[in-house]
Each structure stands twice: as structure tokens, then as C-alpha cells.
């Protein structure tokens, strides 16, 4: 059902956990209807230098979380905002069609983390 890449990220997820005193936190989803992803980021000089995730969800959800934190690390805020559900799915060499909308909350969680970072910057 899943691509080898999805299974590889699911079996060996990167960046699991929570950054202490993060610069941005984003959470997306709801356990009563499906998956939940929480992403924390560390930002230095406009660049995401670290990203970690915690996920309640299926194999695809965990693989997506792992991949998106990998993709975000090293990118500037502006570059990270360009990461889309489709680009994560492409990096994972495809996701089953029915998993696209439910598992791929990662891009939204990352955007929320970035928005949270920007809010904090304003204060």
C-alpha cells in the first residue's frame, strides 16, 4: 500500500520529539476524527535550524511528519512556507489517494508553527 520511502520514514522517523522553548509551535488535526500533528521549530536569523514533531496517526501521517521536518530544516521561513502537501507527498514517492487529505496535515502544522513564530516576533 505504501511506497518504500513512506515505510522507511515510518520505520525510522526523523526528528521525533519536542523542542524545548521553541520559537514556533503548530498543531493540526483532531484525535476524534483522525490524525494529529504537532510541530515545533527553532529559528535563527530567519532560517529554520531545527524542527521536531509528535504525531498521533497512521503510518502515512508519521512518515509525512518525519519528511516535512526534514524538508523544513535549513530552509528560510519564506522557503519553508512553499512546502505543500503535494511536495511532501512527492518527496515520499507518493501516498495512497485516500490518505492525501487526512494524513497530510504536516504542511498545515508547519505553517501554523511559522505563523506562531511570526506572532512571537511581533510581541
Amino acid at each position: 500500500m505504501y511506497s518504500a520511502k513512506v515505510m522507511e520514514h515510518f520505520m525510522n522517523p526523523r526528528n521525533v520529539g519536542e523542542i524545548e522553548n521553541p520559537d514556533g509551535v503548530g498543531e493540526e488535526g483532531n484525535p476524534t476524527c483522525g490524525d494529529v500533528m504537532k510541530i515545533t521549530i527553532r529559528v535563527s536569523e530567519g532560517r529554520i535550524v531545527d524542527a521536531k514533531f509528535q504525531t498521533f496517526g497512521c503510518g502515512a501521517a508519521i512518515a509525512v511528519s518525519s519528511m516535512i521536518t526534514e524538508m523544513a530544516k535549513g530552509k528560510t521561513i519564506e522557503e519553508a512556507l512553499l512546502i505543500s502537501k503535494e511536495s511532501v507527498a512527492n518527496e515520499l514517492e507518493g501516498l495512497p489517494a485516500q490518505k492525501m487529505h487526512c494524513s497530510n496535515l504536516g504542511a498545515d502544522a508547519l505553517r501554523k508553527a511559522i505563523a506562531d513564530y511570526k506572532d512571537k516576533q511581533k510581541k
Partner: protein
């Protein structure tokens, strides 16, 4: 990698002896059972022998068995066939919320066709109470269909009591016994049902053969019109190899049922005891009135499909009622109807055992299961709890 198969409510492996019984009807005796020459007549004889074996397994007459293509077809025939045959007598049907999709969707189809349908709620163990059935009956009720045993939570219903209520009121009673036939002893004369569905691949027969028991003298409207097969109640050239296989599997099941039930129950009890040692894991379904090989749970803070994937990597095959494991992307309606909260239902995991499982299989599962749960909980944002959901009452584990 050694496979440890714990998904017998999905399907069972084919018995070697059953395979041997099938082979001649795929090759030499391929004749149409309606043909009058030798190979056709042998196929006809084999079907009637299978009918006798299937009828004997549930203690009914061979003439009361209608072969179908599956348990789902048997359920469709029962609901739609009886509703149409009895529609001049009334237009109300009762089913439960813990039915298989083939019953639920047949009931919904009938609802759209003008019948009124009551969907009975189970209690927290998945049991349908006789009182709730009594209350649901109206003067218009013509058919009641309650599943004998749930493939999702393993609960065995008090069918004898439920069927007795129907009989008192002169209402036809059907039970979907697909998960029960071949797993537990079933005697229709004792149960008192009018119709009963079964499927051969649930008890070590091949896929492609099911059957409906229809009490002698009851009229049913066919789903499939055509020739005279199955007494004109189910047309279509018979799937002779599958029917022969189902018959032989029924014969073996009847002979070996007592020892198999005893053996599987022992393994299951060990499995349940071992799994419940992991914190915040709860048994679903009835603690004692359950299928002998059935062990189903909800695991807090993690999701079922990810458990299934990690187990499958180790060669352990199981099932889940989590939304992400179903193509419909909905958490099990059965678990939800039992009052299990949606977030807990996401953590569903179901192990259904067969007689070929060994103690070694159980030991292996019990060693690996806590490791998998720990691993997924370390990834979960809820490792420290549901974040206040307990207080809002959205997460109430079943006691």
C-alpha cells in the same frame, strides 16, 4: 519471515483436506450440475453432499440450505428477500448498530425503498438487550436481523432470547452467523431463528461460497433471477468447487469443533491477559460472551493502523477498526455505537485466532506488542495524556 496470522475473522487459510476435495471439480468433474451426463451428475451429487454437510453443522435439513456466493450475498438475500416477500404484512424492519455492512446497507437500501428501519443500539459490551428489542417492535414489524457474533469486538449475542421474542410476535428472525458458524457450536433448532447466514471461508473453506439457512415453508423473493438452481431461489450456475469446499470444511468443523474451541479459548485467554498488562489498554466487547478466538482492544494515545504496520513488519497480521485502516476513513461504527469515544476508537486493535495458531505465536506477540505500543507512544503528542479531554468527558475508557 515467519507469519503469525491473527486475522481469522477476515478470512481463514484453506484446509489441506478441503483443497483435496475441491481439486476434482476444477478438473475432471467440471460439468454443469444441471447436465445429465456423468460429469454433470457427479457435480450435482457433490453439491448435494456439501448441502448435507453444511446443514448438519447447524442441525437443519439439507433442503433448508441455499448456497450463495458469500456471506454478504446471504445477508442481502435474507433482508431484501424477506422484506419483499412480506411487504403486504408490514413495512418495519429492525436491525442492530453492530451489524456487518452487508446487513446495514441492505437495511438502508430497504429504508430508501419505503420500509421503516430501527437500528438498535448495543450496550457498552456490544450486546443487544432483549428489552431494547421488545421496545422497538411495532405492529408493522416483519423482520428482525441481529448478528450472532461481532467480528469486530467478538461479542456473542443472546440470539436464543432475541429470536424467542420475535417468535412470540410472529416476526421473522434472521441472524448473520458468518463469524460464528464453524467457530462455535450452533444448533438452529435450539436457537430458534428462521434464517441464518454463513460463509465457507470463515471456517477453512474457500472464498466464493456462502449459504443461507431458510426455515422450511418460508417464502423468499430471489435477488438473482434465472434458472432453477437452488430451488429457483438463487439462479446462476453453481460454483461447484467452492461449494464442495465449503461442505468439506463444514464436515471437518463439526467433527473437530469441541477440541478446537477448547484449544483456541486457552490461547485467547492467555493473549488477553498478556495484552492487558500494558498500561492504558482496554478490552472491547463482552468479557465472557465472546467468540473463543477473539481478542479486541483499544490502546490509548496511539492509532490502530500504525500498530498494524509495525506488527506486519514482524510478520504479525491483525486488524483494526481505526479510521485510517478503513478505506472509508471512518472509525468503526460498532465501537462508536458501544459508547467508546472516537479518539479511543482510533486505537483499536483486533486479534482473531485460529486452530493453527500456537502458544509460540502468542508468546511472540506478547513480547513484541508492548515494544510497539511504547515506540508509537513516544512519537505521540498524547504521551502524557489526552490534554484535558478526560475532563471534558470526551475520553472515557470502557471499564
Amino acid at each position: 519471515m515467519q507469519v503469525r496470522y491473527f486475522d481469522h475473522v477476515a478470512t481463514t487459510p484453506l484446509d489441506e483436506e478441503v483443497l483435496k476435495a475441491i481439486m476434482p471439480y476444477l478438473k475432471e468433474d467440471f460439468g454443469n450440475p444441471l447436465s445429465i451426463y456423468e460429469s454433470g451428475m457427479r457435480a450435482r451429487k457433490a453439491i448435494e453432499e456439501a448441502r448435507a454437510e453444511v446443514s448438519s453443522l447447524i442441525n437443519v435439513k439439507p433442503s433448508e440450505i441455499i448456497f450463495t456466493s458469500s456471506g454478504a450475498e446471504a445477508n442481502n438475500l435474507a433482508l431484501r428477500g424477506i422484506a419483499l416477500a412480506k411487504q403486504s404484512k408490514g413495512s418495519h424492519i429492525i436491525v442492530s448498530k453492530v451489524e456487518h455492512h452487508s446487513v446495514l446497507n441492505s437495511a438502508r437500501f430497504l429504508e430508501k425503498s419505503g420500509f421503516a428501519v430501527t437500528f438498535l443500539h448495543p450496550d457498552k459490551y456490544g450486546t443487544i438487550s432483549p428489552e431494547s428489542l421488545r421496545k422497538a417492535i411495532t405492529n408493522e414489524t416483519i423482520l428482525i436481523s441481529i448478528i450472532l457474533a461481532s467480528p469486530e469486538v467478538g461479542t456473542v449475542q443472546p440470539i436464543k432470547e432475541l429470536a424467542h421474542i420475535a417468535k412470540e410476535k410472529g416476526i421473522t428472525f434472521h441472524t448473520d452467523a458468518v463469524s460464528g458458524v464453524g467457530s462455535i457450536p450452533i444448533d438452529v433448532s435450539d436457537l430458534g431463528v428462521d434464517l441464518l447466514s454463513m460463509a465457507g471461508h470463515q471456517f477453512y473453506g474457500p472464498k466464493g461460497a456462502g449459504a443461507l439457512y431458510l426455515r422450511e415453508g418460508m417464502r423468499i423473493v430471489p435477488l438473482i433471477y434465472g434458472g432453477i438452481q437452488e430451488g429457483g431461489r438463487r439462479a446462476g450456475t453453481e460454483n461447484v468447487p467452492a461449494i464442495v469446499g465449503m461442505g468439506r470444511a463444514a464436515g471437518i468443523a463439526k467433527e473437530k469443533l469441541p477440541e478446537r474451541v477448547h484449544y483456541i479459548k486457552g490461547l485467547r485467554d492467555k493473549l488477553i491477559e498478556g495484552i492487558l498488562k500494558t498500561e492504558k489498554v482496554y478490552l472491547t466487547g463482552h468479557p465472557s460472551e465472546r467468540l473463543p478466538g477473539h481478542a479486541s482492544f483499544v490502546v490509548e494515545f496511539i492509532e490502530g493502523e500504525s500498530m498494524l504496520l509495525l506488527l506486519a513488519v514482524l510478520g504479525i497480521y491483525a486488524a483494526s477498526g481505526s479510521a485510517c485502516s478503513s478505506k472509508a476513513l471512518k472509525a468503526s461504527p460498532v465501537l462508536l455505537s458501544m459508547g467508546i469515544s472516537p479518539n479511543l476508537a482510533q486505537g483499536s486493535i483486533v486479534f482473531s485466532l485460529g486452530y493453527e495458531n500456537t502458544e509460540d505465536d502468542i508468546n511472540y506477540l506478547l513480547t513484541e506488542f508492548p515494544v510497539i505500543v511504547k515506540r508509537l507512544r513516544e512519537i505521540s503528542p498524547y504521551q502524557k495524556g489526552w490534554g484535558g479531554m478526560e475532563e471534558t468527558g470526551q475520553c472515557i475508557p470502557q471499564k
